[in-house]
């Protein structure tokens, strides 16, 4: 009931079309970076310990992208940039473990060649509508938590209050919802599942 009320399908479709029409995938690198910057910053905030690390990680990602340009075969540039950021993040962690003080990363052995070989993630084939369709197949008890977290961006605490359940239960249900969602997407699109 919660999901159906919050996301009337017809309204959702109309709005998806509006968003997609209004925001076509940019092709110019400068536009790509400007378009992706808020997304990358939010992702970096999820992983990094402080704001200076967030800033550095986003800048390094942009620098890497600028140095090599957008490969011809890349269609979803945000996903491509996200993959670069993921690898840079892990490389920065490794470098930080090796050196007590953070250092600016050069073209170390771990990162020199990956840009050209970065495959476009299989998530590129997944649309937000696919996620909604898969969510419809998930048990409501898990789906509702996922919807509140993924679309309304509520914290575990807020979801717990809203649904009158424990905070730990929220975490558990959310993990199960994600696992089930991935299973459905793997089944449907042949994504490589997490190990």
């Amino acid at each position: 009931v919660l999901t159906a009320r919050r996301f009337p399908r017809k309204l959702l479709r109309e709005r998806i079309e509006q968003v997609e029409v209004a925001q076509p995938e940019p092709k110019n690198l400068e536009d790509v970076l400007e378009d992706a910057e808020p997304t990358l910053r939010r992702l970096a905030q999820r992983m990094c310990a402080d704001s200076s690390d967030v800033h550095d990680l986003v800048q390094d990602t942009f620098e890497r992208a600028c140095r090599h340009g957008i490969p011809q075969e890349i269609h979803c540039t945000r996903a491509w940039l996200t993959t670069i950021m993921h690898r840079l993040y892990l490389d920065r962690r490794r470098a930080a473990a090796r050196h007590p003080r953070p250092q600016v990363l050069g073209d170390g052995p771990g990162i020199a060649s990956f840009e050209q070989g970065v495959p476009e993630p299989q998530w590129k084939r997944i649309t937000i509508e696919d996620i909604h369709q898969s969510l419809a197949q998930i048990e409501p008890v898990y789906r509702d938590v996922y919807v509140l977290h993924a679309f309304e961006e509520l914290s575990y605490e807020e979801i717990a209050r809203r649904l009158s359940i424990g905070r730990i239960t929220v975490g558990t249900r959310l993990s199960r919802a994600r696992k089930r969602l991935r299973e459905l997407l793997v089944q449907r699109f042949g994504l490589e599942d997490e190990p």
Partner: protein
């Protein structure tokens, strides 16, 4: 003690600072979590394309956090309610907000067409109820006249933007005004905001409470009509 089970709360920023630091160390040596983290990041990229996220984030720099927005609504709603009450108390023919410019009225008409029969709703006389009731499949027809720039926004449940004129679907310009025709397709509360302004009106990019604050700040005049769809 951290483990792979902490990946989700880590990615959701639900771990304490210390627990997050522990998980980062775990992540350094766990290839399973590294792959899973990439999956979470890619999933987020897809979710960012959702209409709800798109609307919320388009003005990210100027937007407060979701919790703060709810607080803003808590403060803004009584102010708007008080303004409406004062306007009605003075017996005005329609409720108008914005800068005190008495010579700049916003004239709004709202009709609900049911099975081809149009019914005028909330004509604006003092004391008349501002709300209306419709059914799924009915057509809402709203016209706004007033200053040089006009807009009509429709929100569902005061949160989701359904359409926005003059550029949205169902919008058309009539002599000296702007008209929207919208067939309602879901049950719930629709809010129709008719706006006129001497200045260009911004395109809505956030929840209703935030956008009302924005247009009120630039002195635009607006009226809100609610339609409950059963």
């Amino acid at each position: 003690m951290t483990s792979c089970a902490d990946l989700d709360p880590f990615f959701d920023r639900e771990l304490s600072k210390e627990a997050a630091a522990d998980f980062r160390e775990h992540l350094d040596g766990c290839s399973r979590c590294q792959v899973a983290l990439h999956g979470r990041m890619q999933e987020e990229v897809v979710l960012e394309k959702s209409p709800e996220r798109a609307v919320q984030h388009r003005s990210a720099g100027a937007r407060p956090a979701p919790r703060a927005r709810r607080h803003m609504l808590t403060y803004l709603a009584p102010i708007l309610a008080a303004a409406a009450a004062v306007a009605i108390w003075f017996g005005t023919k329609s409720v108008r907000f914005g800068a005190a410019r008495p010579s700049s009225p916003t004239d709004v008409a709202l009709e609900i067409e049911r099975r081809g029969v149009a019914m005028r709703s909330g004509a604006g006389a003092a004391g008349e109820p501002r709300g209306s009731v419709a059914q799924v499949g009915d057509v809402l027809r709203s016209t706004v006249r007033g200053e040089d720039h006009r807009a009509i926004w429709v929100y569902f449940e005061d949160r989701d933007l359904v359409t926005a004129c003059p550029d949205g679907s169902g919008c058309s310009k009539v002599s000296g005004g702007l008209t929207l025709e919208l067939r309602v397709s879901a049950s719930g509360r629709y809010s129709i905001i008719a706006i006129s302004s001497a200045q260009p009106i911004l395109t809505p990019h956030g929840p209703l409470d935030v956008m009302l604050g924005s247009i009120a700040a630039v002195g635009a005049h607006f009226e809100i009509r609610h339609v409950d769809v059963n």
